[in-house]
Amino acid sequence: MKTLRSVFTVLILFLVAACAGPKDVIVLLADENGKVGEVTVQSTDGSKVVLNKALASAEVGAGDLTKGQMVQDRVDVVFKDVLSALPQNPVSFILYFRTGGTVLTEASKPVLKKLFDAVANRQAAEIQVTGHTDRVGSAGNNDKLALKRAQAVAQMLIDRGIKTKRVRAVGRGERAPLVPTKDGKREPKNRRVEVIVR
């Protein structure tokens, strides 16, 4: 009788465990500067927890949501493969131009070299090239000039063997200055091309 009861107890425990089922685990991480955002975890029955501290975690199964705290060592073990597959951070570069055309300033030539290196060191690099101008000349002409500057940089990358479809060149004219100025004013900081390598 006693054995039967204990078998029964074990069976009940087993069934409860089976009903609870496997749980999903969510862990919040800090970024490289130590900043932490927020994840709101809502289970299917509507209950919620908010994660907003580094390594705060939630476990959620059917009708069951608990908040906890992970340790870094466990994160490193459980999530090792997925963490090592994350793509690198995007990097950005700014190249400056002489007035009125698509000639780079001397100071920007080493930056161009850095850009080429960054592209070479990346798998399947995608490059966004955005041209800008200062406010000398009409807005319409500056749209054309900004695009020409972007296309000139794009062409330098293509000449170095980057596939055309991996480079996207756009011009933004005088709309997005680094240094806001009155119309007609020369501003070397605004005569630029911004390049983002992803």
Binding site: G21, P22, K23, D24, V25, I26, V27, L28, L29, A30, D31, V36, G37, E38, V39, T40, V41, Q42, S43, T44, L51, A58, V60, G61, A62, L65, V75, V78, F79, D81, V82, L83, S84, A85, L86, P87, Q88, P90, Q123, A124, E126, K144, L147, R166, R168, V170, R198
Partner: protein
């Protein structure tokens, strides 16, 4: 003659602008190890680094396999071994940074570094797991779906 040329180049410029906004791609595969498949409509494609991703694609990784990807709003994802991930809905306006990103992780592990879409509110980016819905705001986090030990 010069005028015709100007008109022509203006048309060409407009054409370039239009087509560049009409891209169906929402992101790209950047890192890949082992056996990774993209399921698109009814087709199963063998994935490689540089492949373009589209809305509604599913990614499936095998044993000892993993995949990392970037999206056009700057979001980064990676999936570990034995994972299935669906890119259910993706919309992003590069000018206003408005957008919407819904992902569903069916099994395995997922790492997310959010981008522009998740900067404004926790409503724009949602990740579904079998037992929960996650609202994401400006952060990085990990997800492991139960029962795959």
């Amino acid at each position: 003659m010069l005028r015709i040329l100007t008109v022509f180049s203006a048309i060409a410029a407009v054409f370039v602008i239009c087509t560049s906004q009409g891209f169906a791609d929402i992101g790209q595969i950047k890192t890949l190890k082992g056996d990774v498949k993209i399921v698109r409509s009814d087709k199963t494609l063998s994935a490689k680094a540089g492949d373009i991703l589209e809305q509604k694609d599913s990614l499936v990784t095998g044993a000892n396999s993993s995949v990392g990807m970037t999206f056009i709003d700057g979001t980064r994802f990676s999936a570990g071994p034995n994972s299935t991930l669906e890119l259910s809905r993706f919309r992003f306006n590069p000018t206003t940074h408005d957008g919407e990103f819904q992902t569903s992780v069916k099994r395995g592990t997922l790492a997310i570094i959010s981008g522009q879409i998740a900067k404004r509110s926790s409503e724009a980016m949602k990740v579904r797991t079998p037992a929960s819905i996650l609202g994401v705001r400006g952060t990085r986090f990990l997800v492991k779906v139960g029962g795959e030990e």
